[in-house]
Amino acid sequence: MKEPEKSFVRLRSMVVPLLRDNVDTDQIIPARFLKVTHRSSLGPAAFADWRRDPAFVLEQERYDGAQILLTGENFGCGSSREHAAWALRGAGFRAVIATSFGDIFRQNALKNALLPVELTPSQHEELLAEAVGQDGVVDVERPASGTPLVEIDLERLVVTMPSGRDLPFDVDPFSRYCLLGGVDQLDYLLSFSKEIANYEVDHG
């Protein structure tokens, strides 16, 4: 098994529209798939229950190979299971674009080089119109005309739409620094061993 990429600089891909709000981690990976003791090979379990519907967007061939998931608000709410981030990585995703994220999911995603991109509702609408349908209508059934590509650049902190227009977004500076350089957060934390030992002496 190849080690998944730990850094994120930029990415160009078509987007898969999963236009629902409050997509919880029980949907991203149902609990019955949590009885594993490893991180890999959870990709096929991503959205397992929704995938039983052949009309489900991830079951459509035209989105094969897409690495960006475009969804609604509060994506990844619910359970703290990091399996959700692992499953999305396993299913080939490198970024999720939403108007907001569940706090724990956002952290889990960042630690797995799955970039959570938070756009404002109006930016989100613009992107939808360009990347999914001209009129921005929420219609997952309609075939996307061609394969409009979207670029996410973590260095410049912009999402570039198919038209070439940039939508700025923000990521906390530390997570960005770690992702750009492939810095391991545990290594960073371990560099404070002395301070931690001092704290323990002071606080019993």
Binding site: L19, L34, V36, T37, N74, E82, D103, F174, L189
Partner: protein, 484 residues
């Protein structure tokens, strides 16, 4: 003079190992709770780096998510699911290797992670507490900063006893006045979530305050803090008071006496909160959810709302109702159900079981309804049995199980059939949460018990009047039973 601080500020400041601008703080963790599902990959990571557990004495592990709840003599031999068995074996191995206290399946101290922490007296005021589980917010009831983390962070805490964290913003949630009879902490939580939404608390830590919160016993406060995550807040907390200290007195692992510092764990009178919301508790009614997000809740005596707002909002409601097999304008009371589940880290404590039993005592549940009662821990089970609550449930036609998460997450074989509807005292009504195709209606133990009797969603309050007349109103009042 130091500026006024919130309870969150005080706990945060006391645990900040380092603070650098533009960087997350290094926060010291006092207690790390561990269970079988979210820990194996963290221990593997540790091993791959040849690291050891920095403070095994600050860890406590249990088995709860995938353990079976049938049979009075549950032991690990009863586990037939091979994957679950492997996961449990790994936990045993990891705890043994690193010297971590583990309460295995079947042991006298075993139970759901968020039930046993307080029960053993490990959860204490002023602590920072984490667990690879989002309902870690439960422990905030003791005036602790407690929140759920992912598995990578579990590994961080194992290795360093610390976490890299950005400080959440403080959100004041005030419940003014007293709760009416028949309304409990669960109803407060569901009313709050309905009001501010499933993402209303994102980026924040709640501090619950006000008369109705003060009047809750510790179990009720745990129920309330437990549900914080369902409003998007990672943490919820209540300033500790005499009730907190009385609960902790004599717990097996709690310190003797009350340290003076505990009395200072409250928000200064003029401390400011980033946000604030006030709810009049005296106006609350028993709540029940009708959709697939905990925010889709209404008072039990109301009708399911009709879709309003933009296309996306309408689509969300329509989709949820289609999944649930329900319709707008349908009254909640009378919606037929198949199963009632009483248990979980939200409502699986002694007071919850007493409330459910107060409705079910001497009654029979509706034919064809399956009632599953799962105590939150072995201790809860013992205490409930000592009071004869097990007999109440069994005589009413219910199943009395051994402790575990059970039908809250449906990892252990306890689950609904596709399309079945359950009234459940757990915390999530997400699609498929109680098994593929399951339909969950969240409610309090009183409302769940009433539903079991009727075979349909029911308002528990009329039942309480008759019970109250014969038993004295105390046991059935909104404040949950006395606790252990």
């Amino acid at each position: 003079m130091t500026p006024p601080r919130t309870l969150l500020d005080k706990i945060w400041d006391a645990h900040e190992v380092t603070a650098k601008p533009e960087h997350p703080s290094v926060i010291y963790i006092d207690l790390h709770l561990i269970h079988e599902v979210t820990s194996p990959q963290a221990f593997t990571g540790l091993q791959q780096r040849s690291l050891c557990v920095r403070r095994p004495d600050r860890c406590l592990a249990t088995m709860d998510h995938s353990t079976p709840t049938f049979g009075q003599q549950a032991t690990s031999h009863a586990i037939t699911d091979a994957a679950a068995k492997t996961q449990l074996a790994r936990l045993t191995e990891n705890c043994h290797r690193h010297g971590i206290t583990l309460y295995p399946h079947g042991s006298a101290e075993n139970g759901i992670v968020h039930v046993i922490g307080p029960e053993r007296g490990r959860t204490l005021p002023g602590m920072t507490i984490v667990c690879g589980d989002s309902h870690t917010s439960t422990h905030g009831a003791f005036g602790a900063l407690a929140f759920g983390i992912g598995t990578t962070e579990v590994e961080h805490v194992l290795a360093t006893q610390c976490l890299l964290q950005h400080k959440p913003a403080a959100y004041e949630v005030v419940f003014e006045n007293s709760l009416p009879p028949g309304v409990s902490a669960k109803d407060m939580a569901l009313a709050l979530i309905a009001k501010i939404g499933a993402d209303g608390g994102t980026g924040h830590a709640f501090e619950f305050r006000g008369q109705a919160v003060e009047e809750l016993d510790m179990e009720g406060r745990m129920t309330l803090c437990n549900m914080s995550i369902e409003a998007g807040a990672r943490a919820g907390m209540v300033a500790p008071d005499a009730k907190t200290f009385a609960y902790l007195a004599g717990r097996p692992e709690a310190p003797k006496g009350v340290p003076a510092s505990w009395w200072r764990l409250n928000s200064d009178p003029d401390a400011t909160f980033a946000r604030s919301v006030t709810i009049d508790a005296s106006t609350l009614r028993p709540m029940v959810t009708f959709g697939t997000s905990p925010e889709m809740g209404i008072p039990v005596d109301e009708e399911i709302p009709t879709a309003k707002g933009d296309a996306a909002t309408r689509g969300k409601l329509e989709r949820a109702l289609e999944y649930m097999g329900l319709q707008s304008r349908q009254p909640m009371v009378g919606i037929a159900i198949d199963v009632v589940f009483i248990g979980s880290c939200t409502n699986g404590r002694l007071g919850d079981l007493r409330q459910a039993a107060s409705v079910l005592r001497g009654q029979k549940i509706a034919p064809k309804v399956r009632l599953l009662v799962v105590p939150g821990s072995m201790e809860v089970k013992r205490l409930a049995e000592a009071e004869g609550l097990d007999e109440v449930f069994i005589e009413a036609g219910g199943e009395w199980r051994t402790p575990g998460c059970s039908m809250c997450i449906a990892m252990n074989g306890d689950q609904l059939e596709p399309g079945q509807r359950a009234v459940s005292t757990s915390n999530r009504n997400f699609e498929g949460r109680q098994g593929p195709g399951s339909r969950t209606l969240l409610a309090s133990p009183l409302t769940a018990a009433a539903a079991a009797l009727h075979g349909a969603v029911a308002d528990p309050r009329p039942l309480l009047m008759s019970v109250g007349a014969s038993q004295g109103a105390e046991q059935v009042h909104g404040q949950q039973g006395g606790g252990a």
